[in-house]
C-alpha cells in the first residue's frame, strides 16, 4: 500500500490485508539498507492474528519515494507522518537496528501515540566503525560483504525466513544490493550508517517513553552486541528483555523466537 507522507509516496506492506480501524496497528521499521521484507513472517502472523500491519520501506528506500532520512529524528517524523496519513491515533512501534532508534525517537517525540515499543537488535550509542562508514561510502559492495558476515551467526540456521531452502547470507546480501540500487540519487547505505553513528539522543529519548518497552536481543549478535544495549535497558521505565539465539538479523535467522517475543509482548501489554 502506498501512502503519501511528507509529500512523498511511502510504501507500507500490510500482510495482504485491508486496514481495519477496529484493530490495533503495529508499525514495523527496518534497519540500514533493508526493507519491509525482512519482517515477512512476523508481519504475516500479526496481520492474520488481529492486527493492522504497516511494514514500511523507509523514505528513499525500496518502493518508497522521497529523500532518505539523514538522521534518526528525521526518520521518526516520517513514522508519525505515516500514522497521520493512515488515520491511526495510537500504534505499536517495532524497529530493528537503525529502525529501533527511529521507533524510540518517534515514541519519545509522541509518547501518547505509542502503546508499546519493541527494539530488536538494538544498541546505544549505535557506533559504526570507521572502516564500515568509509566502505559504505566508497565501496558499498565490500561493505555489504562485511556487514553480512557480522550480521549472521551461523551457516546452518533452522528453518528461517523465507522458509526451508533459503540461504540467509545470500538472501541478506541480495536484498541490500537491491535496496542500494533502488535509489540511484543517494547513497542510502552511508546515509543510514551515518545517522546511526551520529544519533546522540537515546538517553533523553528513553526518559520520555511512558509505554512498555521490549528489547529483543540476539545472544550472538556481533553488529549490536547485547552488552551495548544495557545502558538503554537500565534507563527504560518499563523494560523487558528477551534474548534470542541468533545474530543481528534476528527476524530472518530466528523468525519464530522473534515472533514469539514480539507477539506475546504486544498481546499482554
Amino acid at each position: 500500500m502506498i501512502y503519501t507522507v511528507q509529500g512523498a509516496p511511502l510504501f507500507a506492506y500490510t500482510g495482504g490485508k485491508s486496514f481495519d480501524p477496529q484493530k490495533p496497528t503495529a508499525v514495523f521499521i527496518h534497519g540500514v539498507l533493508n526493507d519491509h521484507s525482512v519482517w515477512i513472517l512476523q508481519t504475516r502472523y500479526f496481520a492474520n492474528h488481529g492486527w493492522n500491519v504497516l511494514a514500511i520501506d523507509l523514505p528513499g528506500h525500496g518502493k518508497s519515494g522521497g529523500k532518505a532520512p539523514g538522521s534518526v529524528q528525521e526518520a521518526a517524523q516520517a513514522i508519525i507522518g505515516l500514522l497521520d496519513a493512515v488515520g491511526v491515533s495510537k500504534a505499536v512501534l517495532i524497529g530493528h537496528s537503525f529502525g529501533s532508534l527511529i521507533a524510540l525517537q518517534a515514541t519519545a517525540d509522541n509518547p501518547t501515540r505509542v502503546n508499546q515499543l519493541a527494539m530488536v537488535g538494538t544498541a546505544y550509542p549505535m557506533r559504526v566503525s570507521a572502516i564500515l562508514l568509509e566502505s559504505s561510502l566508497n565501496d558499498p559492495q565490500k561493505a555489504i560483504q562485511m556487514v553480512n558476515v557480522f550480521s549472521h551467526s551461523t551457516l546452518a540456521p533452522p528453518p528461517s525466513a523465507l522458509g526451508p531452502g533459503t540461504w540467509l547470507l545470500g538472501g541478506s546480501k541480495a536484498l541490500m544490493r537491491r535496496v542500494l540500487a533502488s535509489n540511484p540519487d543517494e547513497n542510502i547505505f552511508h546515509i543510514g550508517f551515518k545517522a546511526c553513528d551520529q544519533y546522540d539522543q537515546g538517553e533523553i529519548a528513553i526518559s520520555k517513553v511512558i509505554c512498555p518497552i521490549l528489547f529483543v536481543l540476539g545472544s550472538k549478535d556481533q553488529m549490536t552486541h547485547p552488552k551495548a544495549a544495557q545502558g538503554l535497558i537500565k534507563l527504560a521505565r518499563a523494560g523487558k528483555v528477551v534474548y534470542v539465539n541468533g545474530g543481528h538479523q534476528l527476524m530472518v535467522e530466528a523468525p519464530d523466537e522473534t515472533l514469539n517475543a514480539l507477539y506475546s509482548f504486544c498481546k499482554i501489554s
Binding site: Y13, N48, L155, G165, W167, G170, G171, G247, D256
Partner: protein, 442 residues
C-alpha cells in the same frame, strides 16, 4: 559465523546448511524419510500453511534433508536459496513454468542437452510456450529473437557436448536490456568451475545427477535463484504477473511484495512443487550432499585428468578434432580463459578419422571407459551422441550444436590418467585396424 570474512568454497561445501542434529547430536546430515511433520498446535499448523512461520509440513513441499542440500547449493552458487527437484529436467520445467504459461516465448541457445531441446522444442510448444533457438555465440541473433512475449533467455554455461562457452556477461546484458532474466544450466561446470551469478545470470538449474552427486547413483535436479532480477523492474513492462499480481491459488499472495528478492522461489515452491509435485526424495538429497562434500577435490581431479587426455588426443593421428576449449583452436578458447579460469570441464567430444564403423569399433574396444548415457560420474564414460542423446535432432541442428556423425563424447573420471590414456590408445588402435579391414580411411 566463525570468522571475519565469507567462508570459502571448500568450507561451504561441507558446512553450509548443516549443523549437528539438535535432538541426537548426529554430525552427518540425517535422512528424514518422513512424509509429514507433526504440528505443535492448530495455530502453528495454520501459521505454517499461511507462511507466518518457517517449517516443514509435507515432504513434497519441503523436507529437512532436502533443505540442507538446497541451502548448500545456494551457498556455493552465491544465490539466495534453491529448490531440489526429482531430476534436472524437472528443475528446468519448474523454472520455466514458474515464470510463464501459454502465450509466452523463450530465446534459447541451440547448443543444448538433447533432453532440454526436446522439452523446449516439442513438449512445451504443445502447451503454448514457444522457443526460438539461436547460436550461443551469435549475440545479434539473441537480440533479434526477442518478441514482446519473451520471458526468458536460456543457455548452458558450457554447451553439451560441443563445449561452446556461453558469453554470460554479453547475453545477460541483452536479456536485462529487454527486461528478461537469464536462466543457465550449469550442470557441466558446477559452481567450482564457474559461478554464473557473478557473470550476470539470474537463475541456475543443475542436473545434480552429474558432478554434484558425482558417483552416478541418483537422479536429481536443483533450481537456484540469485535474487538479482527485479520482476517489477523498469524494463519488465508487467510481463511477470505470476510474481507481481495477487495469486488466488495461495492466499492472494503478491510474491514480489512479500519478498523483494525471493519472489521466484516463493512461487516455485508454493505452486510448482505443490502442484506439479516433482520433488526430490530425501535419500537422494542425502546422496547428493555426500557428493558435494568432495566436489572441490573431485572437480580438480576431473580437470587435471581431462587436460592430460585432451593433450594426448590432440596429437593422435587417428583423431581429426578435439573439441575442448583449453585448445587454442576451439571457438570458445578465449572466452573460456576469461570465464572458466579453473578449466572448462571434463565433458568434451572428439572426432575419429574414418567411418561410423571405426567409431563403433573404438567404443567397443574401450575397457576402462563405460559406454553409457551419463556424464559427470567419478568413472570415465563414453557415448556416441548422434545415435543416443541427440538422436531426435536433425543433422542441421546437430551440426549447429557442434556434433558430427562420427563425434564421440567423453566424460573424464577420476581414474589414474595413465590408465585412461592406455585405454584410449588401445581403442584407437582397434579403430585403425577396423578401417584397414573394411578399407576405410585410417
Amino acid at each position: 559465523m566463525p570468522g571475519y570474512s565469507d567462508p570459502g568454497f571448500d568450507t561451504l561445501a561441507l558446512h553450509a546448511g548443516a549443523a549437528p542434529d539438535p535432538s541426537t547430536g548426529a554430525r552427518a546430515v540425517p535422512i528424514h524419510l518422513t512424509t509429514s511433520f507433526v504440528f505443535e498446535s492448530s495455530d502453528q499448523a495454520a501459521a505454517l500453511f499461511n507462511l507466518e512461520r518457517a517449517g516443514h509440513v509435507y515432504s513434497r513441499i519441503s523436507n529437512p534433508t532436502n533443505a540442507v542440500l538446497e541451502q548448500r547449493i545456494a551457498a556455493l552458487e552465491g544465490g539466495i536459496g534453491a529448490i531440489a527437484t526429482a531430476s534436472g529436467q524437472a528443475a528446468l520445467h519448474l523454472a520455466i513454468t514458474t515464470l510463464m504459461g501459454a502465450g509466452s516465448h523463450i530465446v534459447a541457445s541451440s547448443a543444448l542437452y538433447g533432453g532440454s531441446h526436446n522439452l523446449l522444442h516439442y513438449t512445451l510448444s504443445r502447451f503454448g510456450i514457444e522457443t526460438t533457438f539461436v547460436k550461443p555465440g551469435d549475440l545479434q541473433a539473441w537480440r533479434a529473437a526477442v518478441k514482446p512475449n519473451t520471458k526468458l533467455f536460456f543457455g548452458e554455461t558450457v554447451g553439451n557436448p560441443g563445449m561452446y562457452v556461453l558469453d554470460l556477461p554479453a547475453v545477460s546484458q541483452i536479456a536485462h536490456a529487454v527486461g528478461v532474466p537469464l536462466l543457465v544450466d550449469a550442470t557441466l561446470t558446477s559452481p567450482w568451475l564457474m559461478k554464473p551469478f557473478d557473470h550476470g545470470a539470474d537463475l541456475i538449474v543443475h542436473s545434480a545427477t552429474k558432478f554434484l552427486s558425482g558417483h552416478g547413483t541418483v537422479i536429481g535436479g536443483l533450481v537456484v535463484d540469485g535474487g538479482s532480477f527485479d520482476w517489477s523492474g523498469p524494463h519488465t513492462q508487467g510481463k511477470f504477473e505470476e510474481l507481481t499480481k495477487a495469486y488466488e491459488g495461495f492466499h492472494n499472495m503478491v510474491f514480489d511484495e512479500e519478498s523483494t528478492v525471493g519472489a521466484f522461489l516463493l512461487r516455485a515452491r508454493r505452486e510448482g512443487l505443490r502442484d506439479f509435485g516433482a520433488c526430490m526424495s530425501p535419500h537422494t538429497a542425502w546422496l547428493i550432499l555426500q557428493g558435494i562434500e568432495t566436489l572441490p577435490l573431485r572437480m580438480a581431479r576431473h580437470v587435471s585428468n581431462t587436460e592430460k587426455i585432451v593433450r594426448f588426443l590432440a596429437t593422435h593421428p587417428m583423431v581429426s578434432r578435439v573439441g575442448h576449449p583449453m585448445l587454442e583452436r576451439h571457438p570458445s578458447h578465449e572466452l573460456a580463459q576469461k570465464l572458466l579460469p579453473r578449466g572448462a570441464g571434463s565433458v568434451f567430444s572428439f572426432d575419429i578419422q574414418g567411418t561410423r564403423q571405426q567409431g563403433q569399433a573404438f567404443i567397443e574396444a574401450l575397457q576402462v571407459f563405460s559406454h553409457l548415457a551419463n556424464v559427470g560420474d567419478c568413472r570415465s564414460l563414453v557415448i556416441h551422441p548422434a545415435s543416443t542423446t541427440h538422436f531426435r535432432v536433425d543433422d542441421e541442428t546437430l551440426k549447429a550444436s557442434g556434433i558430427g556423425p562420427g563425434t564421440v563424447r567423453l566424460s573424464i573420471g577420476l581414474e589414474d590418467p595413465e590408465d585412461l590414456i592406455d585405454d584410449l590408445k588401445r581403442a584407437l588402435k582397434a579403430a585403425e585396424k577396423s578401417g584397414n579391414k573394411s578399407g576405410g580411411v585410417a
